[in-house]
């Protein structure tokens, strides 16, 4: 294995004046994990004081590349230059010293610590906390004011909203003196309003000469805030653009490697009778929090009802109750003609018997048993079905016949029934779960976050499948934190905030801004 070459090999004087040298330059970076090549001969240049976007599908190597720049991973080959100087970034300690800060997709914050303790971690100012805290707090207050990063320094992280957690991460990086800021999928958890706020912060950081690298899969964001953009696919940088000279279509085409349909053909279809009636459902969590407050809605045949909202506002609990994972505590639910009353015997087997299929929000926790093979996962929950048995033993041949067709029809790659599901990409895992739930011809399909961590190519396919199901008359309840997805798939949208339904609208009338306001609880409609 070759490691980064030494500084000494690179003493050729740079003819450019230092201000014109790129703040970041990556040359020929290759990184393998076992047999998987995550980055292959990647070259990248980012000018100082600009916002540079990196787009690509999941597994395209964006995060790996940035983790290399941040010193978390060691590249197998290649060199890193900062302001024209070759540097050896072999640990986060080194990269932080060189002025690189990174805000990870999953925040690197200690949930039991205060905001201040988190922001100072690694640069505490003193051996003793008390004197250090005073010192750092002064510094942080200045930064916080300059860039509009307002946070509550006393609050415990686990009590703060994700938007604030993200600002803490940025503060933490600035506290370490970051001149280069890497943000990995920063808007995934934010409401549209918080996203706008984040972009304001990033813009003012750019004005102060901070160089920003933004990793995202949301093309709209790339178009709205970046100066330049690189597209990654299969571990390689396949294209570089100046943002003003490109378009979302062009970026998407480069990401996937073929033309992609970004819009959805919604079958126009007359909706039928209500098949699911939810009436006055309330739910109290184990900690005694009212997570659902008086939820009522109807879902009709052939209709897609979208539930929008920031994660953690009761959507998950609603799905859990409807799918039989949680007991109903108050209110009533009617599936066609069968009614469920509070504390009645209600479980996921019964739900399936009623024709309710469920694609869970967390496919790793609830959708699949990752070490199981595809053929096992494909019948999970339907394993009592007589088709799979010979006598009282499961018949592997029958199962294989079914699953071989399933992976073929739903384009699960690799097309194998006997590969462990944990080895599939996120998109293909999701296709497998969806295939299993669609294949049983449900009357009602509950879908949670269908495209979380899923590539554009697979998203296209998943949307297609959902539309096909809709045109067969299945009623679909779609829970998603992706507003675009809710707006383009649903016929009708309800918005949840803090356990209540705060708004309902037809998707044709909905605008992102209005929905965003409702999601943050600012406005009732």
């Amino acid at each position: 294995m070759k490691t980064i070459e030494n500084k000494e090999g690179n003493e050729t004087p740079d003819p450019l004046p230092s201000s014109n040298r790129p703040a970041i330059e990556l040359k020929n970076i290759t990184k393998r994990f076992g047999h998987v090549v995550a980055n292959s001969h990647v070259n990248l240049k980012v000018r100082k004081g600009t916002i540079h976007g990196i787009v690509g599908e999941n597994g395209a190597g964006k995060s790996t590349l940035m983790n290399i720049l941040f010193g978390l991973y060691k590249p197998d080959t290649g060199m890193i230059f900062l302001n024209g100087q070759a540097v050896d970034v072999n640990s986060p300690e080194k990269s932080i010293a060189l002025g690189i800060g990174m805000v990870h997709q999953h925040f690197m914050l200690v949930p039991t610590f205060t905001v201040l303790e988190n922001a100072m971690l690694g640069n505490e100012g003193s051996m003793l906390l008390k004197s250090g805290e005073e010192l750092v707090l002064d510094r942080l207050k200045v930064l916080s004011e300059n860039y509009g990063l307002d946070v509550d320094f006393e609050a415990i992280i686990s009590d703060t909203p994700v938007g604030m957690q993200q600002r803490v991460e940025i503060l933490k990086a600035l506290n370490r003196g970051a001149k280069i800021l890497i943000l990995d999928e920063p808007t995934g958890v934010l409401t549209p309003q918080e996203t706008i706020r984040l972009f304001d912060i990033l813009t003012s950081l750019r004005e102060q000469g901070v160089t920003i690298v933004l990793i995202t899969h949301k093309l709209k964001e790339i178009m709205s805030i970046t100066d330049t953009v690189s597209v990654m696919r299969g571990g390689k940088v396949v294209a570089n653009f100046s943002t003003e000279k490109t378009s979302p279509e062009e970026l998407a085409e480069n990401m996937v490697g073929r033309k992609v349909l970004l819009s959805i053909n919604k079958p126009t279809l007359k909706v039928g009778n209500p098949v699911l009636k939810v009436k006055n459902v309330c739910h109290e969590s184990k900690d005694g929090v009212n997570v659902l407050k008086d939820i009522s809605f109807d879902l009709k045949e052939g209709e897609i009802l979208g539930i929008a909202g920031v994660a953690g506002n009761g959507q998950s609990e609603l799905l859990d109750i409807l799918s039989g994972i949680e007991t109903l505590q108050r209110g009533q639910i009617t599936f066609n003609d069968k009614t469920i009353l509070p504390y009645q015997d209600w479980n996921s087997k019964k739900a399936r018997d009623f024709g309710v299929a469920h694609v869970p929000e967390d496919r790793h926790k609830r959708g699949l048993v990752l070490p199981f093979y595809n053929y096992e996962n494909s019948i999970l929950g339907y394993h009592r079905n007589k088709e799979y048995y010979s006598g009282f033993l499961m018949d592997k041949r029958k199962i294989f016949n079914f699953v071989d067709d399933l992976v073929e029809n739903f384009d699960v790659r690799p097309r194998s029934s006997s590969i462990s599901s944990g080895k599939l990409s996120g998109g293909n895992q999701q296709k497998l779960v969806l295939a299993r739930e669609i294949e049983c011809n449900p009357k009602i399909l509950l879908v949670g976050q269908p495209t979380r961590g899923v590539d554009i190519g697979a998203i296209e396919r998943i949307y297609e499948d959902l539309m096909k199901l809709k045109s067969k008359g299945t009623a679909i309840l779609l829970v998603s934190v992706e507003l675009d997805e809710i707006m383009s798939l649903s016929d009708r949208i309800i918005v949840m905030n803090q356990g209540s339904i705060v708004g309902e609208t037809n998707s044709s009338d909905a605008t992102e801004l209005d929905l965003g306001k409702m999601m943050s609880g600012l406005e009732k409609v």
Partner: protein, 324 residues
């Protein structure tokens, strides 16, 4: 009245003697587990260091050298634990159990090989032990009724390690909650990724923590064999490491509450010893075994129901690895 007062005084006195090794071990556990490393090997480290303390003291004649040898032995065991479960990402419970089994067998084997006394070390003279410290000025205190007795009998007249154990509690509290090192240590036990991305080595932090734990266990072991006792006897730790672990959990990984949990367990054991052979009202004479089992039964009951949610450090038991 006076008799029962005397009884209470002597109970409290033995409570403190019994609680001392528990306190050292509980603090050791806090250092280790707050950094994310389960320390079920407290028992083994204590046993090993008790043996090493007695042996080194017997061979050199100096309890100070014995104490350092004990700390060295205990830290070595910590390093084995660290090598297995920090460097090589092994299972922390298995590694801890291995240390316990190793200590149990090794001390007896070495004891027999060295001294041929069935696993015991030769008895130590009082010069070779940490003896109770006499405070001459305190004798006048005993004139004061009750309070004076309490002071002279309970607080005074212990060996240096007893006082050191109380200091260890405040040391632990101060280091964990008031210093930069403590902030990082707690962070590494809650969310090692946060520490790593802040440019601090997770591995180094965890090794430092378990080494401090090793030192504290060494003190506990030395207390058993060269301060409280006068030599090493086989299996002399007798489950104290596990009781200390229980006290630490009972104290929710916080030094001060853990101290009180140790004292409570110490008191129960003292009470058990005291009640041996005593006729109790209605019940009659309670078998010795029941009394000996009392602290363990209480531990189970307390852990099962009464302490509420004991929230362990977030990343406890999980080896840290960067690349998936």
């Amino acid at each position: 009245m006076l008799e029962s007062f005397q009884l209470i005084i002597s109970l409290l006195d033995s409570t403190i003697r019994i609680a001392t090794p528990l306190i050292f071990c509980a603090m050791a556990g806090i250092f280790s587990e707050r950094s994310g490393i389960i320390d079920i090997g407290l028992e083994g480290k204590m046993l090993l260091s008790a043996f090493v303390a007695a042996t080194a003291t017997f061979l050199t004649g100096s309890p100070i050298l014995g104490l350092f040898a004990a700390i060295f032995a205990s830290c070595s065991a910590s390093l084995i634990h660290g090598f297995a479960c920090i460097t090589n990402k092994g299972d922390q419970v298995i590694s801890g159990l291995a240390i316990n089994i190793l200590a149990s067998g090794l001390t007896i084997t070495l004891g027999i090989a060295l001294f041929s006394r069935g696993g015991q070390t030769p008895p130590l003279t009082s010069e070779q032990r940490f003896m109770p410290i006499e405070f001459s000025f305190l004798d006048q205190m005993s004139i004061v009724p009750f309070l004076g007795d309490l002071f002279v009998e309970v607080i005074a007249g212990h060996n240096i390690l007893v006082y050191l154990s109380v200091l260890a509690v405040f040391f632990t509290y101060y280091v964990i909650f008031k210093t930069r090192f403590g902030l990082r240590l707690r962070a590494v036990g809650e969310k090692p990724e946060a520490v790593d991305t802040a440019g601090i080595s997770v591995i180094k932090m965890r090794y430092q923590s378990i080494l401090i734990a090793g030192m504290l266990c060494g003190l506990a072991g030395a207390y058993l064999s060269i301060a409280h006792g006068a030599g090493f006897g086989r299996e002399m730790s007798a489950g104290k490491g596990y009781i200390a672990l229980a006290a630490m959990i009972f104290g929710k990984w916080n030094p001060i509450p853990s101290l009180f949990a140790c004292l409570l367990f110490g008191f129960l054991e003292a009470l058990g010893v005291r009640l041996e052979g005593v006729e109790l009202m209605w019940i009659g004479e309670v078998p010795v075994q029941v009394m000996q089992a009392l602290p363990y039964v209480l531990t189970v009951v307390l852990l099962a129901g009464f302490i509420g949610k004991a929230r362990a450090p977030g990343a406890i038991g999980v080896p840290y690895s960067k690349e998936g």
